[in-house]
């Protein structure tokens, strides 16, 4: 009896202590780590390179880089028109793409029957999100700029057409992320609502949308920061490369010439003068900061409204 248990115990101990070398598992985790380090290293190199080049500009000129207008002289050139332009673009995009995109998502998730047509629409929205942004620029040129060509004195190349083009550009992204957030709301909540006699509208308005808000906000703000970084479509539809004088009136702001931060980066990077290299990096730092702030805003919103179920 006692020998039997001790033998068994010995076998168990032996098998427990046998350390097998799991080569495949080890190799796999090394590969994972290398990939992670590679992407991290790229990011670090990119950002630190820009910081090293750009920060001296801020050290030398302080905030005048932010408050000066564009200029062909590197010593005086600043970003103020780009900041104003990007801010206004963000507002226009938020006011148009968010409601249209979120409501489209609500329709697709809560109202569409899930039949062949809605699946077809769903697939195509996903495809649209992969269309190159230049193509959206062409669309903006053909539709928005043409429509506004008689308004104001800018041939339709103004911040409104720019904003609308960017709005169309991120619309698929807004729809997809909002639809996913809405889909993530547990069906039990909808059933509970219907079960006590709520109409579909009441269920959507009072139960589904509040529960989906954190996800919707995160997705839409991230889409917005994508829009803020777009250059190609804006250049195509007439954002100004080079300097221009911006009027102070509301009409000038919305119907006059405009530019945006990424457009300035593109413009300055092509300038022949060596001094613009550092300025380009400074502009990139500002653009990155704006994007980081937008993303941080998204995270704060999400945490604030986060609910568990």
């Amino acid at each position: 009896m006692s020998t039997a248990t001790s033998v068994a115990a010995g076998t168990v101990t032996a098998s427990l202590r046998r350390q097998r070398l799991d080569v495949a598992g080890w190799v796999f985790s090394v590969i994972l780590l290398v990939c992670l380090l590679f992407s991290l290293a790229l990011l670090i190199v990119l950002v630190s390179d820009q910081l090293i080049r750009g920060l001296p500009v801020f050290a030398e000129r302080g905030t005048t880089v932010l408050t000066s207008p564009l200029s062909s002289s590197p010593a005086r050139a600043g970003l103020v028109q780009g900041l104003i332009g990007s801010a206004l673009l963000a507002v226009i995009v938020a006011l148009t793409a968010f409601p249209v995109g979120i409501l489209t998502a609500v329709y697709l998730e809560e109202y569409a029957s899930g039949g062949r047509l809605s699946r077809f629409i769903d697939v195509n929205i996903r495809n649209l999100s992969g269309v190159p942004s230049v193509v959206y620029g062409l669309l903006g040129l053909a539709v928005f700029v043409a429509l506004m060509s008689n308004v104001g004195n800018s041939n339709g190349a103004n911040i409104i057409t720019g904003g609308l083009t960017l709005a169309v550009l991120i619309l698929p992204l807004v729809i997809i992320t909002s639809a996913e957030a809405i889909r993530a709301v547990p069906n039990a909540i909808r059933e509970a609502g219907f079960g006590i006699g709520a109409s579909r509208w009441q269920v959507v308005r009072k139960l589904v949308l509040p529960a989906a808000t954190p996800g919707v906000l995160t997705g839409t703000v991230l889409a917005l920061s994508r829009a803020l970084g777009e250059t190609a479509p804006l250049i195509l539809i007439g954002a100004v490369l080079g300097s221009f004088s911006q009027g102070r009136s509301i009409q000038d702001l919305f119907l006059g010439s405009y530019t945006a931060l990424p457009v300035i980066v593109f413009d300055w990077a092509r300038k022949p003068q060596e001094e613009f290299r550092a300025l380009t990096s400074a502009a990139i730092i500002v653009l990155l900061l704006v994007t980081v702030i937008a993303n941080a805003f998204a995270i704060i919103l999400r945490n604030r409204y986060e609910r568990r179920w």
Partner: protein, 286 residues
């Protein structure tokens, strides 16, 4: 023997007193009232698949009707045809008549939302809204534009659901902070608050421990004084303990559910007519 214990249970809700004989004790008052819901040759289809077929049952007023049967025999599907919850699933279809106070609830001019207000529902998994306890209960009345004293209505509903004492000091807390059994009683309070006439319960105790289960069963015994209850249950003991009438369903060869036998609960459990019923209630299959 039973008349003495029955009222006690409904007032104090003492757990051990509940037995089959108590459930049958309410016979005296009921048979005179017409059934509140009548199913007449009802079949239900998911697309081409017929989930239940040729169901004809009466749901007697102010009594508890239990639907029992093996998994997949269509009990829940049948329950959900009674308040048109299945309308929400695309590609489904009902044949036959579901009458509520003689009105065909699938009739062309009937509003499904109104049907669900009058025929409330409690689900298998407790599903409080991610809102406060108070707002959970007030949600339905607010939808209906309730003008009276909301605090009073909330309190009464919570009292009727036998959960008031546990939550009266934390009405502002999230409904999700409660335990499973409390959440389910909160859902019952929420269903009661819209003042339905019938409450459908879809395996309300399947996720609860025995103690919480017993609390819900006691609660049902109290509720039946004011409401008509239809409950789907996997648990035969529960049907035996807590229902007045039992409908036994089974699956046919074409996988469609049908009613094998329906009768007073005592009869089903002690003296069933059909061999299938006898095998099922004695635990020989299912």
């Amino acid at each position: 023997m039973t008349t003495a214990t029955a009222p006690d249970v409904s007032k104090t809700g003492e757990a051990p007193a509940i037995h089959i004989d108590i459930a049958s004790s309410s016979d005296g008052s009921s048979p005179t009232k017409p059934p509140v819901i009548t199913l007449d040759d009802v079949s239900f289809y998911y697309g081409e698949f017929r989930a239940v077929k040729n169901i004809s049952i009466d749901v007697p007023t102010h009594r508890i009707t239990a639907l029992i049967g093996p998994s997949g025999c269509g009990k829940s599907t049948l329950l959900r045809t009674i308040n048109r919850m299945n309308d929400l699933i695309p590609g489904t279809r009902v044949e036959g008549r579901v009458r509520y106070h003689e009105e065909d609830i699938y009739g062309p001019s009937v509003d499904a939302v109104e049907v669900r207000r009058r025929i409330g529902m409690v689900f298998q998994k407790a599903n409080p809204f991610p809102k406060s306890i108070y707002d959970n209960v007030a949600f339905g009345p607010r939808l209906n534009g309730f003008k009276g004293n909301m605090d009073e209505l909330v309190e009464n509903s919570l009292r009727r659901a036998a959960i008031w004492d546990e939550v009266k000091d934390k009405l502002k807390q999230s409904g999700l902070s409660l335990s499973g059994g409390q959440q389910q009683r909160l859902c019952i309070a929420r269903a009661i608050a819209t003042q339905p006439e019938v409450i459908l319960m879809d395996e309300p105790c399947s996720a609860l421990d025995p103690r919480a289960t017993l609390q819900i069963e006691e609660l049902m015994m109290q509720l039946k004084q004011n409401y008509t209850i239809v409950i789907v249950t996997h648990n035969m003991q529960q049907a035996a303990r807590a229902s007045d009438r039992t409908v036994f369903m089974n699956m046919a060869d074409d996988r469609a559910g049908f009613v094998v036998e329906q009768d007073e609960t005592v009869t089903i459990f002690t003296n069933p007519t059909n061999q299938m019923t006898e095998d099922y209630v004695s635990g020989r299959f299912g």
